[in-house]
Amino acid sequence: MKKIIWLLLVSPAAFGLVFFAALSGAWADDFYEGKTIRIIVGFPAGGGYDTYTRAIARHMPKHLPGKPRMVVENMVGAGSLIAGNYTYEKAKPDGLIVGAWNSAFTLYQALGDPAVKVDAQKVGWIGAPSKGSPHCSIMAFTGFETFEDILKSPKPIVMGANRAGSTYHDLPKLLNVIVGTKFDVITGYGGTADIRLAMQRKEVDGACWGWESARVTGRALLDAKGEDRLIPILNHKRWEDADVRNVPLTRDVIGEKGGEAAVQLYNAWSGHYEFQRPLAVPPGTPKERLQLLRKAFAHTMEDSEFLAEAKKAKLDIVYTSGQEIEEIVQNILGIPGSAKEKLRFLIPK
């Protein structure tokens, strides 16, 4: 009898103990409690990268155990290369420093650009909030309406660009190389807005840049009538927007004109658009902390408050997980040598 009483008393106690141990095991991860995570953004305050990252930093903490604070710091320079190299080489891998730099550096790493110190294979990728969809548009005043028209055009088509190394510059030049378009790329414009204005005053005929941005900031032009209308002619992905629903995909056009090798070249170039504005931790960051960050990032991407805010700010959210980024990175770094040779002209130097 006594034994049974003992058993009755002890077993719940033991169970409680085990349960508590299990729980405190889970709580061993309250590393982040009372801490501050710094996100080093390689672009200035107020820009696209910064806006995305600040929105994430406002919502991600509630999905991390211990609810740490998250602050955004802007470390600008060299198209975010300073921030990238800093996070990779100098930042302490304690899970409290997160970097945000241009995913195109993965391509430059593959092409052997010595300025890029970041090894994308060793970085701890947390995830990316968006994907890029490089597209090309042309103004109605040119008289052209489709990509086919442009291929047939006897005279060069003037495309506006800011600088080498941007979508504005790289995509038309790549199309010239692969499918033989006659784009004349004029660099030197200040940025998206500047180029849009140049299109309206007929200084340039068109431009290539992200559709996710064009559909918002170029809306007035896309909806314009007559000569002032902006007509999309190529897009990277299929979108539901009426403006581009029937526009040919860049990959298809390239396959038609240049075959499998050309598609491979395009895939190599466009790989980094699959994870835009990614967050990453320096190599050597404890695995379990990276896991916590990945999980919190994934939850943030589904957080209704975050999504509502993003929708209001017209931020296009397409989640790519850290594991998926690792795969994409492998593909980019595995570009065949011949393709690397052909793409090397893209390294801005």
Binding site: G46, A78, I82, I186, G188, G190, A198, T217
Partner: protein, 682 residues
């Protein structure tokens, strides 16, 4: 349209979302104005930082309140940026660089109150004028903005650079060389064509080019502090005769008396603001240059504390916000970085900038214009209320003030890109600036060249690539701007030649040595240009063309200048007092040997702080520097030392650490700062 304008005022003052007649939106406007004034008065911070921080808060606001707050913030940073410009010669934002040329000498003459009164009045009138122009130009916004293409932008840049001619005063050759140096410095970093990093020496920091703020602080602010410390008294070297309140009142009346200058400079402000890509850093120089060209007696009195030299840039830099709204509203093309953030707020509020803003959403557009006008009035009133107290700062002992100002300058320079390179830039350019000042080289052309370099190169290339050379003759606006340029240069030169009286002073008797320090300085500049031209020879045509076009003539000019100087040194005679013209005056009351001794001492402190930041990081180096300086250099009482150090640190932590989240540099010895941050949190 008038109805819409009046209705918009109603929008601003009444808000259906709040019970009663409490004008909630005006409160948001007022809040924006307060933040804007604070950011403008702190060197290195401007409206952009404030907007980026405030932007998320606009999610919850209705469009009228959101824009009232943001426009309140944007429109007044260039009102309060006058404060450090006048008091310390430290420009509060890039839009008030030219203000220091006459504002600071006024403070030295004991006229800080008058300078403030005039500056705020000019700011107010300029801001209101900008709002008025914006309101009136709504029907013609689109065609006007579209008429300006790359060739026109290039010509605007050329018009700006032509002001080097008058800004050099009596030293035309030196002025041209300084302008060329500015243009060349502006070419450092990735070129706009091939993105080849010019003169970057494998330093990523230099890829984006040398940032403007550390250069201006180095060239103007540090030499000023060093020279004040050399003199060792206080900023105002005469006791203030009039009470500050009377000074302020006379300043206000100055502002109204020179109403025509205000009108002209505001027009310049609106135009430069409306041209996308010209930006805030250019507008004050345009206005100042214009005043020098057109005002009576300018070549004699400007740079020495002429109130018109304050009125011109201050009216223009407030007017530019009205102008900046033109392309933003009409095309969604931001004229400046702050307008880009406003654009983001547009999108958050579900508004598409473009034709709709001039028809469907006209009430919002007019609300913005009213906000602009009201913000300027509020900003001016608040600034004026504090002026009597602020003007007294000029009477504080310089050695008490110097470490505080130096700490702020370092922090401000570091805001440019939060990179140690910012501090290297600051230190290099402060040495250059001090030598230029001492050897009588006009510094404004250097800054003008730097701010216009990118614009000139970009748009020249685009124009030639797109139109060949036809644009030079077949575009009426290009011809019109060219005509304005020629007339203004000719008029300005003729006037200054006419007015230039005998301005020769006795030069200190030269020892007859051929190579004076001044000539040596010129030689170094020649060698730097030669280096630039030589290294450029290996670059591709498009990367090299602009550096050569500027560098090769500059090489020959500096050789000519070198010749002039060794020739003069042989004949100990009179030299032209070029230093007082269009630049802050050099005080020659202290003997040269003492100047060198004290300046070396001061630069020693500066390099000490620089080294300390490198060694232990900002948060440890700044208080350490303050305590050491105040104890050993200023010999202040211990409690004064501790109190001022504590105040500065509270300010640094409160603004830069907790609000802006500056990524502090890790020192070579990192643990003390890390410990401190661990202790105070983030």
């Amino acid at each position: 349209m008038l109805e819409a304008a009046v209705g918009a005022l109603d929008n601003l003052s009444s808000c259906p979302c709040v019970v009663g007649i409490f004008p909630a939106r005006l409160v948001f406007l007022f809040f924006g104005v307060l933040v804007g004034l604070s950011l403008g008065a702190i060197p290195g911070l401007g409206g952009i930082v404030g907007l980026a921080i405030l932007l998320p808060f606009t999610f919850a606001l209705d469009p009228y309140a959101a824009f009232a707050m943001m426009i309140g913030l944007i429109s007044v940073t260039s009102t309060s940026d006058t404060i450090p410009s006048v008091l310390f010669g430290v420009p509060g934002t890039v839009a008030s660089q030219a203000t220091i040329l006459d504002g600071h000498p006024m403070a030295k003459k004991g006229e800080a109150g008058r300078a403030f009164g005039a500056a705020y009045t000019a700011s107010l009138l300029g801001g209101l004028f900008g709002a008025l122009v914006l309101a009136l130009s709504i029907p013609i916004l689109r065609p006007v903005v579209l008429a300006f293409g790359s060739p026109e932008f290039f010509m605007m840049g050329l018009l700006g650079i032509s002001m080097v001619a008058v800004l050099s005063g009596g030293a035309p050759v030196k002025g041209l060389i300084a302008g060329a140096a500015g243009l060349t410095i502006g070419m450092i970093g990735a070129d706009p064509q091939a993105a080849f990093p010019r003169w970057a020496f494998d330093a990523l920091y230099l890829w984006d080019g040398i940032p403007l703020v550390p250069v201006t602080l180095g060239v103007f602010a540090i030499p000023e502090i060093v020279d004040l410390a050399v003199k060792g008294t206080r900023i105002a070297d005469v006791p203030q005769g009039k009470t500050t309140t009377r000074g302020v009142l006379s300043g206000i009346s100055d502002g109204f008396r020179h109403w025509f200058l205000v009108l002209r400079c505001s027009t310049i402000g609106v135009w430069v603001g409306a041209v996308p890509g010209m930006g805030a850093s250019v507008v004050d120089w345009f206005a100042y240059g214009h005043a020098v060209q057109t005002e009576k007696g300018a070549s004699d009195s400007f740079g020495k504390g002429d109130v018109r030299g304050v009125i011109a840039p201050e009216s223009a830099n407030n007017a530019k916000e009205g102008g900046g709204l033109i392309p933003t509203i009409a095309f969604g093309v931001p004229g400046s970085a702050s307008m880009a953030l406003l654009l983001a707020a547009f999108l958050i509020q579900g508004l598409v900038p473009g034709p709709d803003m001039l028809t469907k959403h006209l009430d919002i557009t007019y609300t913005m214009i009213w906000s602009l006008a009201l913000a300027n009035i509020m900003g001016t009133a608040i600034c004026l209320a504090f002026t009597p107290q602020l003007a007294k700062v000029a009477m504080v002992r310089i050695h008490l003030l110097a470490p505080l100002v130096i700490a702020i300058i370092f922090l401000a320079a570091f805001q440019a890109s939060t990179n140690f390179g910012d501090l290297i830039t600051l230190m290099s350019f402060s040495s250059l600036g001090w030598l230029m000042k001492r050897f009588g080289w006009p510094r404004p052309p250097l800054i003008l060249g730097l701010v216009l370099s990118g614009i000139l190169e970009r748009y020249l290339f685009i124009s030639v690539r797109r139109y060949g050379l036809v644009w030079l003759v077949d575009r009426p606006l290009v011809l019109a701007i060219a005509l304005i340029t020629i007339i203004s240069v000719w008029y300005g030169l003729r006037r200054s030649r006419h007015e230039r009286k005998s301005r020769r002073i006795e030069a200190p008797a030269s020892s007859g040595l051929k190579l004076t320090p001044s000539a040596l300085f010129t030689l170094v500049i020649f060698l730097l240009f030669s280096f630039a031209v030589f290294t450029a020879s290996g670059w591709s045509y498009q990367t090299r063309m602009f550096p050569w076009a500027i560098g090769i003539p500059a090489m020959s000019l500096s050789l000519v200048q070198f010749g002039i100087e060794i020739w003069r040194a042989r004949r100990p005679t009179t030299i032209e007092d070029t230093t007082g013209i269009m630049d802050l005056p050099v005080d020659r009351s202290v003997p040269v040997s003492l100047v060198i001794h004290r300046a070396a001492n001061m630069f020693g402190w500066l390099f000490g702080l620089f080294a300390a930041v490198w060694l232990v990081g900002f948060l440890i180096a700044v208080p350490l520097f303050m305590v050491l300086y105040l104890t050993f250099q200023a010999q202040e009482k211990w409690w004064v030392t501790l109190a001022s150090t504590a105040c500065v640190m509270l300010f640094v932590l409160g603004v830069f650490h907790y609000v802006i989240h500056v990524p502090w540099l890790e020192g070579a010895i990192a643990w003390p700062q890390e410990m401190l941050i661990g202790w105070i949190g983030r």
